[in-house]
Amino acid sequence: MRKKKVTVLNEAGLHARPSSTLVKTASGFKSDLQIEMYGYRVNGKSILGLMTLAAEQGSEMELIVEGPDEDEAIEALIKLFENKFNRE
């Protein structure tokens, strides 16, 4: 299992399109992705789950990745957060 704390850097927060990009990226891996924020945990491959987080700019969350390709997966996800989901 790999864990990593990340911050939402996008100005608009983790809104629809970043959520979509995140789901798309996570779904490309076999490993499960859980995202925990303020003690609330959602499935990172669930777009509705991500939306319910209502994560705004500056929100901190923990990525929890577990599975056969967890190393590649967490690297890709961290990069995504750092690159502001390839936007802006």
Binding site: G13, A16, K24, N43, T52, A54
Partner: protein, 583 residues
Amino acid sequence: MSKSTEQVLKDRTLLGTPGAGGRAVGSPVIINSERKAVKPEKISEDRIADETELLDNALDELVNEFEGLKSINDEEDVKEVVETQIQLLCDPELKKSILGKITEQRFKAVFAIFSSFNEYIQILENSNTNWLRDRTIDIVSIRDQLIDTVRNKQPDYIKADDGVIFAEELSPTEMIKLSRFKLAGIVTEKGGLTSHVVILAQSLGIPCVIGVDWKPMRPDDFDRIMIDGDVGSVMFDPTDKLVEDVETYNKERLKKQEIALQWASEPDLTECGSSFTIRANIEFVSELPRIKTHGARGIGLLRTETILFEKDGFDIDSQVAFYRQVAEAAGDDPVTIRLFDAGGDKLPENHEEEHNPFLGWRGIRMLLDKPELLRKQYEAILRVSADFKGKLQILVPMISHVQQIQQSRLILEDVKKELKKSGDDFDPEIPFGIMIEVPSIAMMAAEAAQEVDFFSIGTNDLTQYMLAVDRGNSKISNLYQPSHPSVWRVIELVAKAAKKAKIQVSVCGEMASNPLYAACFLGLGIDDLSMTTNSIPAVKEMLCSHSLKEFKEKSNQVLRARTYEEVDSIFQQWKKTLELYHI
């Protein structure tokens, strides 16, 4: 405490109003009860697999649809929006939640979808973030698309064969769709005795019970439903013995019908030798064989709304094919084609709603506003008349003003002129008549008679307009009294006007199907009656086995009656003196 078998059966029986006679056993088919609202309907364990399959198929179908949308769009923004929609449909948590509701809580797929989506929607709506609240609109839309897709996949119409239909109410359009199947029976929650559903069920010979509060029984949970349209009962999971009884009963009923059908081949003469004519009211092609077997002399009323409701109804070729098929089935006998009588309760689904459809834009009122539709129908009838000269007649519905007769006739003459110009053959003398169903035109019958070749009295609408009673409204259906003295008197007035103008007059409403009323029409001098084919043998038996003198006596009594109750008692007493097979 164990219940007696009798009590168990009683608990499993619902009572309603008999709509159309006959008994049958079939499996439950629920129709449109959830079209308006999604209700928390539960399913039995053996339906779980079916419901999850419905869900999977609907998800696949919608995802494919969106993938298709994505592939034909080059705009990146559009692609992203569509991608998000696909992600919603593929959301693993959402699907888990829906499946749980189906398999564990045993909800129908439609409700499971509705409820699972709503849980998310509620969270998002309560969010402080604006963009999230806006997203809920998209999510609601996906939810509804998915529900619609599941519903279209529901085997409502596919499994209707041998099914007992359960509906809140059925629109004429739905009845038409259903008429393609061999239904065992129809159970509705709403609707009056003379609603379209009942009339159609009678004409198709399908047992029908109306006014049944069936929803709490959850018919889906039962395998077999026994419907008795004679007493108005619906039994869930009847015993084998009862099912057997129904089979025996149906065999006997068939035998009785055969005996009654013997009247079909008798000459159309009263006991004293005066002649009459009985014709058939026809709406469906499937009824055509009964013209011959039930002894109808042609078709007194061909309803054409079915074509209107079918997809390409306005197309001249499909109309021509339909009229031709009907004319051929009638053999040497005439066929009276009533123009599209859409409106009121027969509104096609795509129309705007009217506050008072029965007093609204229907029949000739609609046709005169849509002359292209009227012209097409005239053209189709005229084209068919070329091969059936002297056989086809045109009947115009819902005439309330004399000017409407002149206007619709002008258009007919214009269509004739055009056909002549293009060298097409038709019957130039094709008789042109009107329905007498609105009191205003009935009162002006003498003037109207100068403008037309024949009258056809539509007693159903005439009764409801005379008494101002909506025949589909079960709250006031006791006031819907076709044999109210006012109705008899206005019919007499119309008959006299027709006689004076020497034009043909007939009755094509449901009243003519009642053997005693039919006899009274003969007494009033109306010897041309048109009715559902199933009623013909009984009416014929009555008319053949009595004399015109008796009919005249009765009709005179009826015309003198001061109240509906007086008329009713005349008929009740008369009935007692008769030994008829059917009444």
